[in-house]
Symmetry: C2
Subunit: 233 residues, 2 copies
DNA sequence: GCAAAAGTGTTACGAATACACCCATGA
DNA sequence: TCATGGGTGTATTCGTAACACTTTTGC
């Protein structure tokens, strides 16, 4: 006899919440929405949704992110499952949180109007509902860790970017300034940046070279177990 | 009007699976059980269970661990939520996996007979059900990472242990041998070990000093942001 | 007295840090 | 010509890695 369900009865709502990081050449930001249903309607919240029967956790996270941003191939990484009994006052709900990194200035996307979303600098976040504050704290820790040990920061930048921009991004992530020469030496030593030869001249008279991230080379090095620590933190 | 449930209907089974590591002075081992219900009855599996309505994820993990080992205050850390649609062939179930570390030789506990559990060296694991193999791989990666950056290995040892035992444990975790002098220097430099003055004389004629782990000192240093990396990997 | 495991220091190398000046350009 | 931001090199310090012998004691 084939079994088609477990006798166990406690089936539970599973939510997904996305901690969406962005960078706009100046500040590291977080995308929050005005919650449009009770409870806490009108308060700020992470973008979220419920897990459907026929989608994996990762798929649900992508679906939710796409609903808000229209973007498909976003960097997404599971952060943690939050499961305190009363974390949602309405009904028992566990939430699996995901970190998302997107390039704010990609002209290819527009935020959906359905959610009244807006970007907040991570240094000036409003109050958020439930345990979303904890999620955000954990998310930033994870981002710092990841950015130091893997070539992850690039997800937050346009395809072409300058080294000063990249440094600024890392400074925002770590909340401290970095030595220009040491930063450049180390990031270039990773051997995953390609100088396009083009110059960006908006932010200075001299102009700064535009680089691209060499994903193929990065994959090769990572597979070879190459150490790519930036030793920040 | 107060809201008491979300309209959303997809409530889903939430399982907990525990990756239980132990160490017996020789090898790093994993505790597996013979699954006693369908499907895959009789096959090896991680110890698991379902999340109840009125317990948090962490509480459920502790409950499940206690059911098998009788132990209460075990090191437990959430690993990852696994949520592929067909990971459990019976019914849609997501599983939140937890890493557990226990001292195999603690005389204070006995495995419950209810589960036909047994310890397997991590180098010789049997086939396991579902996606438990993936969970185990992830768990070992996490253990390696944690053991290198925090004083975590101690959870796997008795209250009193010798430095050669501790080194052996780390060698098992990393699957390679370590230089005795460098290992001792670094572990002692962390300043969280106390030499009890007693000697253990079973494994050698000369005898090795027994140490204890100074949890209080460790907490202090950790709070102070002290770097306690062992730089293994 | 010898076998077996515990314990101990030093040197050499490489990586991280700190630090100051020149360059190119537009206004 | 000067103000602005981009770009470059070196000396010092510190941490990591490599390495071999002495000690203790039970048999």
């Amino acid at each position: 006899m084939e079994i088609t369900s477990y006798k166990h009865t406690d089936r539970i709502l599973v939510a997904i919440d996305c901690i969406i990081f962005g960078f706009d050449k100046e500040q590291l930001k977080l995308l929050l929405i005005k919650r449009d249903f009770e409870p806490e309607k009108g308060k700020w919240s992470l973008m979220g949704g419920f897990l459907g029967e026929s989608e994996s956790l990762d798929e649900a996270a992508h679906r939710i992110l796409k609903a808000l941003t229209g973007l498909k191939n976003i960097y997404l990484e599971q952060l943690h499952a939050f499961g305190e009994v009363n974390r949602d006052p309405v009904e028992r709900t566990i939430s699996v949180a995901y970190n998302a990194l997107i390039d704010i200035e990609a002209h290819s996307f527009e935020l959906s109007d359905d959610y009244s979303a807006s970007w907040f600098p991570i240094t000036q976040l409003p109050d958020v509902i439930f345990d979303h504050n904890q999620m955000i704290t954990d998310a930033l820790d994870r981002l710092q860790y990841k950015a130091s040990h893997e070539a992850i920061g690039f997800e937050l930048l346009p395809e072409k970017f300058t080294l000063p921009e990249l440094q600024k991004l890392y400074e925002c992530i770590y909340g401290r300034s970095l030595d220009k020469r040491n930063f450049r030496r180390r990031i270039l030593a990773m051997d995953v940046l390609i100088n396009t030869g083009e110059k960006e001249k908006e932010s200075s008279k001299k102009g700064a070279f535009l680089y691209t991230f060499d994903q193929t080379e990065f994959n090769k090095l990572q597979k070879a177990g190459q150490n790519m620590d930036l030793n920040l933190y």
